[in-house]
């Protein structure tokens, strides 16, 4: 294999406020970036709903990951992909979402995995 593009790809599949998996995945991605590992993040399926603006988790005395997502640009983690099919399924306009992200087809996501050393799914 040629030198991989990324050391770690973290895939987030959970919708907002579904237990702690999304937060734990994001924590892992941020720690990885902090340790100077080349790190990418992908939102798959219901995971794309994490990027919906105007979420108010305090309404349920919960904490979402949106405030962490807004802080991403300050970490060395700029490779953010979203599942284009899921965006379409949920009727979400990519431009209306949080974060600078790149909608990707299933084929593009397959290639991303193929060019990454380790992939963790949350």
């Amino acid at each position: 294999m040629s030198r991989p593009d990324f050391d770690l790809l973290v895939i987030l599949t959970q919708p907002p406020l579904a237990g702690t998996a999304a937060k734990e995945g994001l924590d892992t991605a941020l720690v990885s970036a902090t340790f100077e590992q080349k790190t990418a993040l992908a939102f798959l399926g219901e995971g794309v709903l994490q990027l919906v603006k105007g979420q108010q988790p305090d309404q349920l005395q919960l904490k979402g990951i949106q405030s962490m997502l807004k802080a991403l640009p300050f970490y060395d983690l700029q490779a953010v992909y979203t599942d284009a099919l899921a965006l379409q399924q949920f009727g979400l306009n990519p431009d209306e979402l949080l974060l600078n992200h790149q909608p990707a087809t299933a084929e593009q996501l397959q290639q991303l995995i193929a060019k990454t050393t380790n992939t963790l799914v949350f």
Partner: protein, 92 residues
Amino acid sequence: MASLHQLNSIQKLPHCLRLLAAGDQLLLTETAVTLVLDTESLQQLPSGVELLALADDLLARGLSEKLPSGVKAISDAQWVEATLEAERVCSW
């Protein structure tokens, strides 16, 4: 009023969907409220089923403004009323 079905995760939708009868209500709670955006799945609902979603769960996930016309958002107090008005409650 027949059964009030409570669905708290879209993973359980396939089972729940088949046991919904005309006259039943389906209440979306917790992460299942994301279904309100999933037009394709909503079309699979049998006719004669009223679709409800918890207002706080929608609000928390930023979905209140995106509610399609066929779904009614209800408060926690209305939820309690709905459990008493229904003949029975079935939680998936």
